[in-house]
Symmetry: C2
Subunit: 217 residues, 2 copies
DNA sequence: TTCTTTTTATCACGGGCGTGATACATTGGT
DNA sequence: ACCAATGTATCACGCCCGTGATAAAAAGAA
């Protein structure tokens, strides 16, 4: 017989409530009382599962980052074997992976919104600082690794430095995310992917490594 | 004989205090009391010059945006006449103008920090919403206009659409700003300009419009 | 001077916050 | 049945907040 309440599940319910409050009203409104109301719980219950406000915020931020990581990991697992893929296929994989970071649907839009809120809050909240740094290094590192792989296979346009291209792509993606979340009517999801695709098209070669020309789109 | 206190100057002093608090502790800490303390004033004095907290925040945000606008306007005034400029000169002007938006020194870093704080807050604070939208349209519009001019003079690489390039450049700049402000140790000012220059080099032709080839670097 | 306006300084109120402490209810094992 | 552990629900305290009201001080004009 299953226990009536699964503590881990409860914590996740509370975290989901945190996310909803953050998306709707901003991180500043994510007080214990507001979160408890949003979760349909009593504040006492919330406090039973989290030592205090700070631990809740920390756990929520960590959960958000884990969620993104897992989504990316799943995407990587499902990717075809890069060793046997053609140049076009390799570029498609990269395209799909990076698009996964953009707020293209409601789920990812909410996630990116929460991401932005926590990251900006971490600038002045030392409790979140370590996690923010870790996340930033992770995303930047991932993009850097992708570009190095591209470069190693000759998919990166000659003359381009993978490191500075990583900075550029990192900034572009974060900028698209930010503007899309802050000004959804000025930057539609379609415009986001168009901008990203345009960028990728410019920094990658558009011919197959085997020599087959795949010009145009 | 000058009046002992100039109301307009006082308001600016208070706004400066707001900016210092926002940069140091975040927008959430910019309460009337904290701001008054930072300005070395009594909370009563602050309230004498501002109707309330909301008006202060609105005025501070507007001041910040005006400051950026004026800096850009000054930069444009000092620019050489584009009609008689060579292609390289035109690209240098654009380079300088866009670099003005990046947090390359302490002054601009503080400004961008305040910008990010207010813009993200505006997402859920309806009082700041209009201003934020105006600012976003302004920055995006400026970049769009620049690229259209470039395109008209043939400085933009053939095959590139000024509008989607504007989205891309807009996102890149905002992303560099964001990452530089949130993770200064992961993205130095130098890395910012390198990334931006690399981008501009890729979307512009590197030959003069008069036909002189300046290929290579 | 006297009077009016401007500026500075306090007080008090209601409200939201995190949190410690505590009581009550429910559960699951013995 | 009993009990210990777990989960729920409140209360109270101190803190900070924005704000209305009001007093006190300073400045400038008559």
């Amino acid at each position: 017989m299953p226990k009536l309440v699964d503590p881990a599940a409860r914590r996740l319910e509370v975290v989901d409530a945190v996310f909803r409050v953050v998306v709707r009203d901003g991180l500043a409104q994510a007080s214990l009382r507001n979160v408890a109301d949003e979760a349909g719980l009593n504040i006492g219950s919330v406090r039973h599962y989290f030592a205090g406000h700070q631990e809740l915020m920390l756990f929520a931020m960590r959960s958000m980052l884990d969620r993104v990581s897992h989504r990316l990991a799943r995407h990587i697992e499902e990717a075809p074997d890069l060793a046997t893929a053609s140049g076009a296929e390799r570029r498609a994989v990269m395209d799909g992976l990076l698009c996964e970071l953009l707020p293209l649907d409601d789920v990812r839009r909410a996630e990116v919104t929460v991401f932005v809120e926590f990251m900006t809050a971490a600038r002045t909240d030392s409790a979140l600082g370590d996690l923010a740094r870790e996340a930033a290094e992770g995303s930047r590192g991932l993009i850097t690794r992708i570009l190095y792989r591209l470069s190693a296979r000759g998919d990166l346009r000659p003359g381009l430095d993978p490191d500075t291209e990583a900075v550029r792509l990192w900034g572009l993606i974060d900028g698209l995310c930010l503007n899309s979340v802050l000004h959804p009517d000025l930057l539609s999801p379609d415009a986001c992917v168009t901008a990203l695709r345009g960028h990728l098209a410019q920094i990658t070669t558009d011919s197959d490594a085997d020599g087959h020309s795949t010009r145009g789109r």
